[in-house]
Symmetry: C2
């Protein structure tokens, strides 16, 4: 029979699977000889055993083990459980592998009954304390086990009362308990304990827990452990208290303890956000010895865990007890700063630093902020900056309303007095969360940081009436649908819609990304063609431009006109249009080369079908005919002849390059002339990379390439200048993947166009797939949108074939990915397993891509090492 319970000194921090995070860390602290109240952990295995049965009941062997453990605790404490003059009281807490704040349930003071309450009263000499504890047990038991809200019992009296008065109160509590739950409050301590354990087990499958797991991608089959620990009392006396402390600032990452405490309170009082706690620095004055011990322990724990710790402690009559330690939750800014600091402090390696940065962090770091001009007079309220970022949206006062508005496509800001686990779904669809109450560790603050949603809490000047769906501030009121702007970094809330500004990369993040680049096997390029975007790409760390789309250069009014002339006119007027467009393109390429210098830039020749440059409407076509001085009948006829049933599969890319070779020739001439000029002017060597799109057969590539090379050689001849150049192909047609060995013989480089490759591999039109893709992802027919995350089984398999064949044929072949998924971390981790040299993505995705490339390379080399072992 497997062991199902573990005394604290039997466990260790690595056993989170078995003991849950909280349990494992209590074990670790116990073994570090820190002041941890005794206790034991019921394993997640016991929970799984319990949940797996049809008729849920605790197994005989588990009950036996629990009784054995209680006897052990009785021995260590010289107290007795449920009877006697010195009663053993216990806390029962859940603790799963992953922290799920507020999701699981705690019962304190377990072991009190009508008899032991008197014993506690007598032995502590504090009747009020003993009865308050009993009240709290009854309340919590009702809440946790039977889902009866604590508010049914009213507030626990804090003033001194006589024994008779307390008896009346307790009798009343027990009556309420019986009325609301339909059963008597159990007097037998073991009965209390076993019911509580079952309640914790069952709570694994409550709705809130399921939602949290779904949102955070936590598997449903882990189960929770149960931690049973001897009670210590922060509410025992004036020299008692409870608090939470971070070893570094969880908002900024700054080194130095940071936290909150409350005297004469139990831990639940802080988490619930009911009383506003004091800063931890106050403790230094109030109880300097305790403060010293606490900070010493905290530092020891940080070094031991190699990460910033979030500890919970209780002081009982001047004595410090550690109740929990865990890696502290933090803002993205703090996460980045802390990880970098820990690395420079020598506590963690570069690989660990990289592992600790995640894409969401960077995404949040790079979240928009408000522009400096945000006028201070529109600030209506100020609160605690609980989760950074900035957001603009319309107010909702309930989670339901938030979901409803979000469904209608509105940007929502959820405004509440405080949030509770029931609000999770509503919070996850909101742009920002604002609460009138609570501190930096309140439910709203913790959850919002986890979700990366901008959040301001404790806005004392905001009165929220959730029923009437309105809130009042000093100068006015807010109603459902009103626009506000929320700055989660400053805690300021503005009336109306402020302008959002692109975030800039933080200095430390840039340092980390440089370290990433050192570890990455693939480079990151940018997809860009305008000077502005190219500069942005370089700023974000691009090593070059992987995809400059030339068709984007034809849409300015004068160029569009000439493009249309090229398409619709004939003879010399076509030549005129070509000449005009060549000069314009050449100028574009000059600018590109001037910005990039010798950095590589892959320029894709015209890709879309010609009809994309024409309107559909006859009237507009007549207008164009007039503008170009062409016969309107022939213009309409020509436009009609260009129309296609399936444009995606029609006359475009290299097909167009072959049917109308003069277009590619014009573009190639513009590229080469620009490169020659800039090379000469700047005294550098520009190496043009010319990319031919939509290639599916070896001969169409060769033919298009030969035609380009002819033009290039003519230009070299004419200018008496030369430069190196490369002509490569987009790999975006399934057939190209199947004949990649042939293509590698004649192409200088490959670049996967994953958008078209995905369209063709699935047979999906991006323009039409919205009719079924949502249903498909909803029913999990597709794990997700394959245009966002690369389809590894299908598209990925073709990419594997193509890249492997290509490299096998020609070792020097450079292979890149320039489609949408080139900036997607999930996709990058797959792409890393292929012989791909670089990914190319939108400028704003570059930082994430750099991180993803480093992570992928580290993971891949680990996999490779494993294989080589």
């Amino acid at each position: 029979m497997a062991k199902l319970t573990y005394r604290f000194h039997e466990g260790k921090k690595e056993w989170k699977d078995l003991l849950g995070g909280k349990g494992a860390n209590l074990c670790e602290m116990k073994n570090l000889n820190l002041p941890v109240p005794n206790g034991f952990v019921i394993s997640t295995e016991a929970c799984r055993n319990y949940l797996i049965q049809e008729t849920k009941s605790l197994s005989g062997s588990l009950v036996e083990e629990i009784i054995f453990q209680i006897k052990e605790l009785e021995m260590l404490s010289s107290k007795t459980f449920g009877i006697g003059v010195n009663p053993l009281l216990l806390s029962v807490r859940s603790g799963a592998k992953y922290s799920m704040p507020g999701m699981m349930d705690t019962i304190l003071n377990l072991g009190l009954n009508d008899k032991t309450v008197h014993a506690l009263s007598k032995i502590t000499g504090n009747r009020d304390f003993a009865f308050q504890c009993y009240c709290r047990l009854i309340q919590m038991f009702a809440d946790v086990v039977y889902n009866v809200a604590t508010t049914n019992f009213g507030t626990i009296p804090t003033e001194t009362k006589t024994e008779a008065e307390w008896k009346v109160i307790i009798t009343n509590y027990q009556k309420i308990f019986a009325t609301m739950t339909g059963r008597k409050f159990p007097q037998d301590a073991y009965e209390q304990l076993l019911i509580a354990v079952e309640a914790v087990f069952s709570s694994w499958n409550n709705q809130r827990a399921k939602v949290y797991r779904r949102i955070h991608g936590i598997p449903d089959n882990l189960g929770t452990a149960v931690t049973i620990q001897q009670m210590v009392f922060g509410n025992y006396s004036a020299e008692s208290g409870t608090g939470v402390m971070f070893t570094r600032n969880p908002a900024t990452g700054e080194k130095g303890v940071y936290g909150e405490y409350l005297l004469q309170a139990q831990g639940e009082d802080i988490v619930a956000g009911i009383r506003t706690p004091e800063s931890i620095s106050g403790l230094q004055e109030a109880m300097p010895q305790v403060y010293d011990e606490l900070t010493k322990i905290a530092n020891q724990l940080e070094k031991h865990y190699c990460d910033m710790q979030d500890v919970e402690f209780t002081i009982e009559a001047g004595k410090l007890y550690m109740l929990q330690t865990r890696n502290g939750k933090r803002t993205p800014q703090a996460a980045v700063a802390i990880a970098y600091d820990l690395m420079t402090e020598g506590l963690i390696s570069e690989e660990t630093l990289i592992a600790r940065i995640d894409e969401e962090m960077i995404g949040q770091l790079l979240h928009p902020t408000f522009t400096d001009e945000a006028k201070i007079e529109t600030v209506i309220v100020r609160g605690l900056p609980a989760s950074p970022g900035a957001a603009v949206g319309q107010i909702a006062f309930t989670a339901e309303a938030a979901k409803e508005m979000s469904r209608k496509g509105k940007k929502v800001i959820l405004v509440r007095n405080e949030t509770s686990p029931e609000d999770i779904e509503g919070m996850s669809v909101s742009e920002a969360i604002v609460t009138a109450r609570g501190g930096m560790t309140s439910h709203a603050a913790v959850v919002a940081r986890g979700m990366g949603v901008c959040c301001v809490v404790g806005c004392e000047n905001l009165q929220v009436d959730e029923e009437k769906e309105m809130a009042s501030f000093v100068d006015g009121i807010l109603q459902t649908g009103d626009f506000i702007s929320v700055d989660g970094s400053s805690g300021r809330i503005y009336l109306g819609k402020l302008t959002l500004n692109e975030a800039e990369t933080s200095e430390v993040l840039e340092k980390i990304l440089k370290i990433c680049d050192d570890h990455a096997a693939m480079s990151v390029y940018g997809n860009a063609e305008t000077p502005r975007d190219i500069k942005e790409a370089l700023l974000k760390g691009a090593k070059g431009i992987g995809l400059a789309r030339t068709e984007h250069m034809f849409f300015q009014a004068d160029r569009l006109k000439m493009m249309r002339q090229l398409i619709l006119a004939e003879g010399s007027r076509v030549d005129e249009a070509l000449a005009y467009l060549k000069e314009k393109q050449k100028n574009d390429f000059r600018q590109i080369y001037q910005i990039l210098g010798e950095l590589p830039c892959t320029i894709r020749l015209l890709d879309p079908p010609l009809h994309e440059f024409l309107p559909q409407d006859r009237q507009e076509l007549r207008g164009i005919a007039q503008e170009l001085n062409l016969n309107s009948h022939s213009v309409i006829a020509k436009a009609k002849s260009l129309a296609e049933v399936n444009p995606m599969l029609g006359l475009r890319g290299v097909r167009l390059g072959i049917i109308r070779p003069e277009i590619y020739q014009m573009q190639v001439a513009a590229i080469i002339e620009a490169a020659l000029e800039v090379s000469k002017e700047e005294e550098i060597t520009v190496i043009p990379h010319i990319m031919i799109p939509l290639v599916g057969t070896i001969k169409e590539f060769s033919m298009a390439k030969d035609s380009c090379v002819e033009i290039i050689n003519d230009l070299f001849e004419k200018t008496k200048m030369r430069l190196p150049f490369e002509i490569g192909t987009m790999i975006e047609i399934p057939r190209a993947c199947l004949i990649a060995n042939q293509l590698a013989q004649v192409a200088d480089f490959f670049s996967f166009g994953t958008n078209d490759l995905t369209q063709l591999t699935y047979g999906y039109s991006r323009d039409d797939a919205h009719k079924f893709l949502p249903t498909y992802t909803h029913h999990e027919i597709l794990p997700n949108d394959p245009f966002q995350h690369l389809d590894q089984e299908g598209v990925g398999e073709l990419m594997r074939m193509a890249s492997e064949m290509g490299k096998q044929e020609k070792k020097s072949l450079s292979v890149g990915v320039c489609g949408e998924v080139g900036g997607d971390p999930v996709s990058i981790s797959f792409i890393q397993t292929l012989p791909v040299d670089y990914v190319s993505c939108s400028p704003y995705r570059i930082p994430n891509a750099r991180l993803a490339c480093a992570k992928a390379a580290i993971a891949n080399s680990k996999i490779k090492k494993k294989i080589s072992i």
Copy 2:
């Protein structure tokens, strides 16, 4: 130094590569001790050596060998070459590996000069004969070597003349020769010989030869051999003659000699079609002994060659000489009949029988004929039925005109006095060929049979004036562009356009196809859904229906209306439409099952997008709205919402089946109800094969399948009946090929839809590709249209992956090909190399597919045997 010349008894029939067909067969006959005039062959290697040099000249060693061989001939014949009292005369003929009728050039009577003509005259005692031979030599030499038309010399006098008269004639011939060629007629016999050999060598590369090779796919690098043989003279005396004979009737295949001869003539007289020859039966009376010997030899040759022989013979003064034997050209009907007879006679194996039938033969056999009602009064002319089949078209009087008219898309019938090698290209584009002159072995007849073009020759009542571009018959005249109808099987020519009728499979062909079925590894199914087409498929030998397209069943007016109601209405009116369509479909399926009985039938659920059932035009949509009593705005809006940018890649196939599951459920219910009813009524077990199209992921197939199975189980429950059924998938999305192992786990069968698979693998839209496909095939960017012949490198590779993975996953998985290429022999020979169980094609292609499957299986097992060795 390799040997370059071979005496006849040194060679054998297998050496066609080296000795050419004619030379190899002469060697073979010599070794069979048949009466073959002595001679030798200059090998194709010598020709290649000659052609490969820059300055064309015969090598010294070749000349030495030739001289040596001549000495040998002189010894054997006791004659001397070019001098003396008994001159040795030679024929010089070309002979390549493949027979190229009329392409190559022959010179007879070589060795005659001003002196030896007298010796010949003296030794034969026949002055006219000797001088006629000399005339012919000069004429042929001018023609073959210098391309000077024989007509320049006028007709060779046939009447008796004095020596002086002959001298004048010869002098005149030599003058014409000198004038036209710019050089003297060579008196040195060796000079004559070497010039002739060079001329034969050079003729390999003349234009006509090149065209012929291109049309027939003969490689350009083979070269021709030269056969040099002692002359025998069919024009020597009244007991002399020449002829050609087939061992079986080349038009019908009937056993028994068949041929033509001319007395006092040389072979060229027959081939040229100048004199109309007599039937071979005439020879039996005229020269019974010669006839007996000839038929005996012919039969011996047929047995020896295991094929119908076409022999050429010459009778010189009552003695028979064999000049050539070869496998005789024949009509498709004859080819089929002869091959089958040879097999039953035990001369060839079944495999050889199959190898001798080709797709063109079947195609021609199954060519249309005219209906019986073709009115006899419209017959304007009757000729010899030279090549069977029937055709309707417009008259062209020159090959040039035929090409021009064909280019314009017209169906052309070439009408000429006689055809010559220059006409080949014009003939190949014509529907039929009609000549006023010539016999069954004339150029027109031989070439037309080879091309499978319907042909009538020797129309004596037709006067053709090629210059004026008109022809007159008894009752009228014909001009360019006039419509006529030609029956190549009866020799009748009709005025105007007759109705063509589908050909019926001949009995013997059906027997052969049954033998094919025994040898084939893959079965042949039909693509059909109407009772008429299904019956036709079975008639043509289909083993089942591989693809019944249900969308074809929705286009009758009443059904289309209900389909539109299904698409455009809502609520109960959708149900009404579904119920209506279900009954109609059920009836369709009942008919199908009634025809097919227990033969398999794969029914594909609805494939096209719904908008294909709606018009585009607003006005028409309004009409539909009125007809269906629906709001016209909402109808127009709905139609608009269904429109797609790329319908090929949109909401169709299984995607539609998932978004609107009621449609597939309706179809499945109709299929199963029909199957249950017919099974009961006919006391058979119908096994429905339900095919889900456009599958790309495992879950979409499972989901659609589960939804079908639910309906089926409900029906079984309701009817208290059951039957076996299969649910499989179309493989037509590249991704499906890549995950075929997964699909095989849940699908009962695979069927490759090569049309869509080709569209997606290439990224070509069939509806739009016409804009570039012609250019692509013209520039050989594509070897051919991939929708006609399967692309083996790309699409084929995906099919290989899919079929192999599928079968590996599930041995019992049935795999078929139901796309266009399922009926294409070239594609079938590739498909045979995959683990595919059947191909399915249009009914009319089934016979060819059956043949192709047998050929492919035989070839594949040969390849496999080779590998296993």
